[in-house]
């Protein structure tokens, strides 16, 4: 299984991730090796009857339907890159202007 440069770029686009041009060959090579390595899972006969294992409680517990305030110590103004008048400020979507 070999991952091409184009495939790395397509996946990077899906993941909303810029990838350096110089880093591409190494990345394609490493991804190919990792995917080859995990491909050994397909050597084991597939068994459609295996029930998926999920750790943790068997059923979702519901809380009582009561409003319990969970106060933040400080507001988004302090941890967001830009926050004005109750909104997160982002660059303009140029193409719609």
């Amino acid at each position: 299984m070999s991952v091409s440069r184009e495939e790395v770029l397509r996946i990077a686009q899906l993941a909303e991730l810029d990838v350096d041009e110089e880093a591409l060959p190494t990345l394609a090579e490493q991804m190919s090796r990792i995917l080859d390595y995990v491909a050994q899972l397909s050597a084991v006969p597939a068994n459609g009857t295996v029930k998926v294992f999920v750790p943790g409680p068997d059923a979702i517990r519901f809380r009582n339907d009561e409003v319990v305030p969970s106060q933040l110590e400080f507001g988004p103004k302090e941890f967001a890159p830009d926050f004005k008048e109750g909104f997160f400020v982002v660059p303009k979507l140029g193409q719609f202007e």
Binding site: E16, Q40, L41, V52, F53, P76, V90
Partner: protein, 455 residues
Amino acid sequence: MSDAKAVADRLVKAKRLNALLTPPKELRKSLNTQSAEARPTGVLYGMPVAVKDNICTLEFTTTCGSRILEGYRSPYEATAVAKLKAAGALIAGKTNCDEFAMGSSTEHSAYGRVIHPLDKARVPGGSSGGSAALVGAGAVPAALGSETGGSVRQPAAFCGVVGIKPTYGRVSRYGLVAFGSSLDQIGVFGRSVHDAARVLSVISGRDPRDSTCEDRDPLRLPTVPESLQGFVVGLPKEYFPPELDPAVRRACDRAIRMMKELGAAVREVSLPHTPYAVPTYYVIAPAEASSNLARYDGVRYGPRFNGAADLRSLYRSTRGQGFGPEVRRRILIGTYVLSSGYYDAYYRRAQQMRALIAQDFRNVFDRGVDLLFTPTVPSPAFKAGEKLADPIAMYMSDIFTVTANLAGLPAISLPIGRVKGLPIGGQLIGQAFLEDEMIEAAYALERVVPATDEA
């Protein structure tokens, strides 16, 4: 109680390890305030506990060892941290770690690598390497880490300290920055089994803020047993392969002999799907990570990397520049295995394998085995840089630890000897929610095993 200044002095003295991300001045100031406010009736009154930087605290920043969260201060704190404070413990700074807990050597931190406390050329293990190194250096008696595939037990083994990974659902994940949500658990480091276990007992128990946390009372600590009479300890043959480092094998053989002398019945068992655990993990964990890390986009948290003309390029440049190479690699692998056309071949197959691995453990425990004993890591701490260029070699460092995460089981690593001065860890894997039995056996083994003698 310990004096805040003395606590800070010990931590600042360990500066050469690069294990602590909190600047000394801020640390001293906060410890003074905390120590004045600490509840004298708490069971951990005055005990300094360092906290891995992917666990949210109101004191100090929470960066996850990443540039993408540089300077980020959480507006709320993790349940585990709130419980520590309520018990009178002092939050003794934030510890360096592999970025978003992805790594096995703490070389993948945006804030520089962590140095092994006994050998500056070596790594402390990872991803909770900063916590392990500080406990190993005697700077704190205990620290919090987090586990997704062995990130507490593996560095505990490398640094010669005790590391506990609780059952999935024993400790609330509220405030633990998510990596692989079906695998993540907060774990504990201690200089001794007792130090680690009592911190674990404080942070465990139900939490209405985490629906994957079981509705159970906090863990009750067992007493130190006189013997291991009545314990059946299984030795899974897949964890003792012919290529195992001979010194690790000698240390394990010695520990096994001692457990027998303490009265434990020891028998060989088999967990046949073990060879598939690492590939299973490296499908499931990156898949969950690619989804969990989608939230870091330069809009809501941390710094925004500029040069972005529109929203799309803001996302891409922030994520491209904010994440380091290992995180980027895992996001790409995770996106790949979840993408259309590959989901069945990778992700579904890995989910099925995970179920078979969990079934292996149930089969062994159903046949009367109480605990399993294995080496924690196949070798002692490796040299910095040794495995950086080869991700798969790095991943193999987790080969004996990932199984407990995949199966959601509790496990503990404790020092069982040394090779050329470097610590070796032995691991006990317990049954779900039977941490008390596992800790009891660890107490007994810890008392007799010559942890700092050459194997």
